[in-house]
């Protein structure tokens, strides 16, 4: 039990791409959901860096030098952490 604590903390700091603030540099933690296959093809992979450029009805993110517009439903399937 002693060793479990840090891991729980780590999960707590993860948030969905929708929750992240605009202009933040983020690192993708986990992808989960029906749309994640499509997201991976577009460069949304675990460990890649993302910057959220705009929120709203559809989000705009920059991944590997490309800007992508994705819907909120898809962004909900992307768990990110602040890039440190």
């Amino acid at each position: 039990m002693k060793f479990a604590a840090p891991k729980v903390l780590e999960m707590d700091t993860a948030m969905t791409l929708n929750q992240a603030g605009v202009g933040c540099d983020l690192r993708i933690h986990v992808l989960s959901g029906p749309g994640c296959e499509r997201l991976r093809e577009l460069g949304f992979c675990e460990q890649s860096q993302v910057r959220k450029l705009a929120g709203g009805r559809n989000l705009i993110c920059s991944v590997c030098g490309t800007r992508l517009a994705i819907s909120r439903e898809l962004a909900e399937q992307v768990l990110v952490k602040a890039a440190g």
Partner: protein, 631 residues
């Protein structure tokens, strides 16, 4: 002409959307396929040939862009089938050139690895090397080639740089297929590919620092802004509208003058008789009434070409997503519908980029209600007549804007109803769109494309519309009657008799047999309506024509029912405009819809629905207006 036997090999170009495959294809073959800075401009396989430096003739296929070989949308399935050699009439390619955007290797390499895994020999073309270098990316093609085991060529296809080197790399013997060295037993292929690419990019494509704010990012800050973005969007649309309806006046005046001079010249050469009548009334009058609109059609294609080439089209789709959602569609339907303002045929074909099959069907169904350029001549003939004025007043663009809005809004309502009835998709398709970096327009390709479309329009005027004009002239001239009165002559002719048959059908809409005949002829092409009217109404006040369209309008204004009432009352003209907004009078569109939807029932249902809707809407306007005492 070449026989298949002298072809040395078939090469396929594949890559993610917007990686520059078509630009490379054009640079290799010297052809002029349409390119745009928007994913999904190429939706079909295009083929061409070129020679290697050693004089071997190679056949090259330009495949639609795809993100993976999993094939989600129809255009991606085409690309996958082409690689497998399953396309009818196309052999399995001997070599695949994987075109990747050098500034985006992490993403684009995914597809390259999948192609290698298929066991096809590959050459890697690192395109847009200039963009990558400007963004500070440090690329090492030699290390890439070494790690992947593939020949790698760096190029900038838009400027023709590196194309010769690529041709050198395609010399014989062609490279062999290589082993997919990243695959390992016990590791999922996706994971293996991802790890391999991450290692490779660290080695051979080092980014200076994560996320530098590029010029495009800054431009997007304004152009996608919730408020300013819309201001720019509407401003751009209005500027385009103004160019098409205001600026085009100048060259249209020249055409009009030239046509009047030509008519007067022919008139002075020939004696009164059938030949003069054929040339002046049939050929010059009929074809001229259509060629007049060449500048506007060229400007419309230029406008759409500019939006695509600069990369703004994707932003427009992003902005419009919310609006389209109200019609049950997504932002992806914006480009097909917007292109349909030029012509429904490319619009219907562009729906291939829509992932959701049902959304695609609905988009195809409503696309013809975006008023296409063929309807413009009809609108431009009728609207000034409706307003009792010459061309050029500020009210006309407003009425035209209203016409376009009515068609568009009706399309959205029908789309919403239809989308609701079709139900949700089996697998949810979410909005996902790449925003390409802004680029300067590729003027050479845009101008060539505009010239091509303008030439196609002139050809149509010179062949189909010329033939129909002569036919219409003959039908309205023969059999001849002995009477001297023009109206009596027409009534006696084959066309006049046809009009009598048609009249009961169109009379409730406020049209007489002549307008009915003109509508019937416009089912071959809508522009023919003008030519038909010019021929059918020449009997009233045929004088020397200086401004052909102005004269036609004067004749139309003077046209009367047999009992002396004016024929073109405001109400009848509105009814006519409404009919043209809604009627699907374009057989080529029906054929394309049948092919794209894979169902003749869908295409014929659309034709029947739109024709019936147009008739009912016109009926409602005319009879409703009369009940209110407007007619």
């Amino acid at each position: 002409m070449s026989l298949p036997s002298d072809l040395a090999a078939t090469i396929a170009l594949i890559g993610n959307p917007n990686a520059g495959k078509t630009t490379l294809f054009n640079a290799l073959t010297g052809e002029n396929q349409r390119v745009g800075n928007y994913s999904g401009v190429t939706v079909e396989v295009k083929a061409g040939t070129f020679f290697t430096p050693h004089g071997r003739k190679l056949r090259v296929l330009d495949l639609p862009g795809c993100y993976s070989l999993r094939a989600g949308s129809p255009d991606e399935r085409v690309a996958v089938a082409a690689l497998a050699g399953e396309l009818p009439g196309e052999p399995r390619p001997d070599l695949v050139v994987c075109v990747v955007d050098a500034s985006n290797l992490e993403r684009h390499l995914q597809l390259v690895l999948q192609v290698v895994e298929l066991g096809l020999p590959c050459v890697l073309a690192l395109n847009m090397i200039d963009v990558a270098e400007r963004s500070g990316l440090r690329l090492d093609p030699a290390k890439l080639a070494d790690a992947l085991g593939l020949p790698v060529v760096a190029l900038q296809a838009s400027a023709g740089k590196g194309v010769l080197e690529l041709k050198q790399a395609l010399r014989f013997p062609l490279p062999h297929a290589v082993a997919a060295r990243w695959l390992a037993p016990g590791v999922a292929p996706e994971t293996a590919r991802r790890d391999f690419i991450n290692r490779l990019c660290e080695l051979a494509a080092r980014r200076p620092e994560a996320h530098q704010l590029t010029v495009s990012d800054r431009a997007d800050g304004v152009l996608l802004h919730p408020l300013y973005g819309w201001v720019f969007f509407l401003g751009i649309l209005l500027a385009g509208f103004w160019a098409i309806f205001g600026l085009a006046r100048i060259p249209m005046g020249w055409i009009e003058l030239g046509q009047g001079a030509l008519g007067a010249w022919v008139r002075s050469l020939l004696a009164q008789g059938d030949l003069r009548s054929l040339l002046v009334d049939g050929v010059i009058g009929g074809v001229g009434g259509v060629v007049m609109f060449l500048p506007q059609i060229a400007l419309l294609f230029l406008f759409i070409g500019l939006l695509e080439s600069t990369g703004y089209m994707a932003r427009a789709a992003y902005l419009m997503d919310g609006v389209m959602a109200r019609a049950g569609l997504s932002g992806k339907a914006f480009l097909p519908l917007f292109s349909s303002y030029a012509c429904a045929i490319p619009g219907v074909m562009a729906t291939r980029t829509i992932h959701s099959a049902k959304e695609r069907l609905v988009t195809i169904f409503v696309a013809p209600w975006m008023s296409c350029s063929a309807r413009l001549p009809v609108y431009l003939l009728i609207v000034p007549l409706l307003l009792h004025e010459d061309e050029g007043s500020w009210k006309q663009p407003l009425v035209l804007f209203g016409i376009y809005t009515l068609g568009t809004l009706s399309a959205f309502v029908v789309a919403r109803v239809l989308r609701g009835r079709l139900g949700p998709d089996a697998t949810a398709a979410h909005f996902l769109l790449e925003m390409p970096p802004y680029r300067l327009p590729q003027w050479r390709y845009i101008m060539r494309h505009v010239l091509e479309r303008a030439w196609a329009f002139v050809q149509k005027a010179g062949t189909l519309i010329l033939g129909l004009s002569i036919l219409l002239w003959a039908l309205s001239t023969y059999p001849k009657s002995s009477g001297a009165d023009g109206a009596e002559k027409l009534a006696h002719s084959a066309m006049g008799r046809m009009g009598v048959v048609l009249e009961p059908l169109v009379r409730p809409l406020g049209f007489d047999g002549r307008i009915g005949t003109a509508i019937l002829t416009s089912f071959s092409a809508r522009e023919v309506f003008n030519a038909s009217l010019a021929i059918l109404f020449r009997v009233e006040g045929a004088g020397d024509d200086q401004a052909q369209r102005g004269m036609l309008r004067a004749q139309l204004a003077a046209a009367k029912w047999p009992d002396g009432r004016p024929l073109f009352t405001p109400l009848a003209m509105i009814s006519l405009l409404v009919f043209y907004i809604y009627a699907l009078q374009c057989l080529p569109t029906v054929a394309v819809v049948a092919r794209e939807s894979g169902s003749w029932r869908w295409a014929l249902g659309q034709l029947g629905f739109m024709t019936a809707f147009a008739w009912c809407a016109s009926l409602l306007i005319y009879q409703g207006g009369r009940l209110l005492g407007l007619g």
